[in-house]
């Protein structure tokens, strides 16, 4: 469990802070996505989690231990429990794939025989057993990131920090890397904290999300909650997308259905029992944070005015549909 308390970071006195009173808690086993535009402070926040960046104020509690209060050698001990992967991979070009993955094991003084065995396991895990003796410059971007992941996992950390790890990769490679991260999360129970500017990354694998803007935390929480909360703008941005150039009028509603509700005859009942006309304008269905989510834009047609609209909205909310009026 990582608890961030009132974290602040100011690079230069007088300048706007890069982080301002950020508090979060990251539960064990989560895949926690932190979203934000560039310059929002997400990279600074991530780098504070292993103290690559020292915060100006606040605390970071890693399983109850305050990282900011540790001595240098204690901090190095803790860092061995936190793997990190990077947008630019940061592999050592003077070493083969095998030797790159072995670096954390050398640092934690694992004996050579065990080192070899562990590296073999990891090569197998990331599907690069045939590239053990290749040098990083001979690999594709996706392969380099797999090496980065294997290296980050070598010392069996409890946490993995991902600094825009897929931002330099094409969509297909991104998907395969995200899949690998999810497998690792499930198989090893590793807690993953990732920062990204891509909503799709969060939709694909995260179960928790937070958004940052101008160094401040805007929203944070389990994605299921964010999605279900009509007030959440982060939740709204995570809903399935569709082209929304279609017109809207005073009778247009946006409806989101979750999980089992997707198969329930809610609209049917609306038409049959409430006697309302429903025109479908747009729709999309996606799996987001492990939940099936459908999103519809409908128009109720003319007539009936406000009373009808409210009746329909009440009915839908009662059935568990997230309803927004446009």
């Amino acid at each position: 469990m990582i608890i961030v308390e009132q974290l602040g970071k100011t690079y230069r006195a007088g300048q706007a802070p890069a982080l301002d009173q950020v508090s979060l808690s990251i539960p064990d086993g989560a895949i926690y996505g932190i979203l934000g535009r560039s310059g929002a402070g997400k990279s600074t926040l991530l780098r504070c989690l292993n103290l690559l960046e020292r915060p100006s104020s606040g605390r970071i509690l890693l399983d109850g231990k305050d990282l900011t209060a540790l001595s240098d050698s204690e901090l190095r001990q803790q860092r061995q429990r936190i793997g990190m992967i990077f947008q630019g991979f940061n592999l050592l070009h003077s070493r083969t794939v095998f030797d790159n993955i072995a670096v954390p094991l050398e640092i934690s003084r694992v004996a050579k025989a065990q080192r070899t065995e562990r590296v073999r396991e990891l090569l197998d895990l990331v599907g690069l057993s045939d590239k053990a003796l290749a040098f990083p410059s001979q690999l594709s971007g996706g392969q380099k990131q797999r090496v980065g992941i294997a290296r980050a996992l070598a010392a069996r950390p409890a946490y993995l920090l991902s600094d825009e790890a897929t931002s330099a990769l094409d969509p297909e490679t991104t998907a395969s890397i995200l899949e690998l991260l999810r497998d690792i999360n499930r198989q090893l129970g590793l807690t993953i904290v990732l920062i990204t500017h891509e909503l799709d990354v969060v939709k694909a694998i995260c179960d928790h999300a937070a958004s940052l803007a101008n160094g401040r935390l805007v929203e944070a929480g389990p994605i299921a909650q964010l999605l279900a909360n009509p007030q959440s703008s982060l939740g709204r941005s995570l809903l399935p997308g569709y082209s929304s150039t279609l017109g809207k009028d005073s009778q247009t509603l946006e409806l989101s259905f979750f999980d089992n509700l997707l198969a329930a005859p809610v609209l049917d009942e609306l038409v049959q029992k409430q006697g309302v006309q429903v025109n479908l304008l747009a729709s999309g269905v996606e799996t987001i944070g492990g939940r099936r989510v459908g999103r519809l834009r409908v128009s109720l047609g003319q007539g009936g005015g406000e009373p009808k609209l409210h009746r329909v909205m009440d009915f839908l909310k009662q059935r568990g549909v997230r309803v927004e009026r446009l």
């Binding site: 240098d72 001990q77 860092r79 070009h93 954390p104 010392a155």
Partner: protein
């Protein structure tokens, strides 16, 4: 005097002088490496924004290195005569010449090392720190291995410079090819010896340079 003109004698002279030059270059090169490499690392890590900031020390070392580099080598050669006598016991001969040559070369080499390390991607250093590495891990697992091609190129450059320095040591009687050029070429107008000296020096510099280039290239290929 006549016998001097016979090629076999010239050959003997040039061979001996080449041996002395190589002796000076190899010995001074070794000391330059031993002093310059750690000094370059220290200069790099002690920067204000470095891995182990020691701005005061960095300023002192940087200043000393700059003084060392700003003196023309001929001046240093003469200015260092008392120090040479103190260290070696004499100021004549190739062994004595190693002292000023080393002192003239290591500040230059230290700067080359510092610049080579500066070229190493900061992200790679960060990756080692993030996995719990200390400053020694950073130096020996990242900085030196990752900068190796640049360091080798720098060593090549320094060796060529050392050949030049060792020739100048002829001025204070340091032996070697420079000494030969001064005593036979300059003072006795012996053109054959002069010519042979030039040929050997060119061959020496060329072979050091191409050997260095080949090493750098073979390393770069692997990466």
């Amino acid at each position: 005097m006549n016998r001097m003109n016979e090629w076999s004698d010239i050959l003997q002279l040039v061979l001996n002088a080449t041996g002395e030059t190589l002796y000076m270059v190899v010995l001074a090169g070794l000391f330059t490496l031993l002093i310059g490499l750690p000094l370059g690392v220290l200069l790099f890590i002690s920067r204000r924004d470095g891995l182990y900031p020691m701005p005061r020390l960095n300023n002192c070392l940087g200043g000393a290195v700059n003084i060392g580099r700003s003196l023309p080598f001929v001046v240093m050669l003469i200015a260092l005569i008392p120090l040479t006598r103190l260290v070696v016991g004499t100021t004549l001969g190739s062994t004595a010449a190693v002292v000023p040559i080393t002192i003239g070369a290591f500040p230059f080499f230290a700067r080359i090392v510092e610049n080579a390390l500066d070229e190493v991607d900061k992200g790679r250093i960060e990756a080692i720190l993030a996995m719990g590495g200390d400053i020694w891990h950073v130096i020996f697992k990242v900085l030196l291995p990752e900068a190796l091609p640049a360091l080798l190129a720098g060593i090549t450059l320094t060796l060529v410079m050392l050949i030049g320095f060792s020739s100048m040591a002829g001025i204070i009687g340091g032996g070697g090819l420079g000494d030969l050029a001064i005593r036979y070429g300059y003072q006795r107008f012996n053109n054959q010896v002069m010519f042979a000296t030039v040929v050997v020096l060119v061959i020496l510099v060329q072979s050091v340079q191409s050997l260095g280039d080949r090493l750098v290239r073979s390393l770069a290929h692997r990466r």
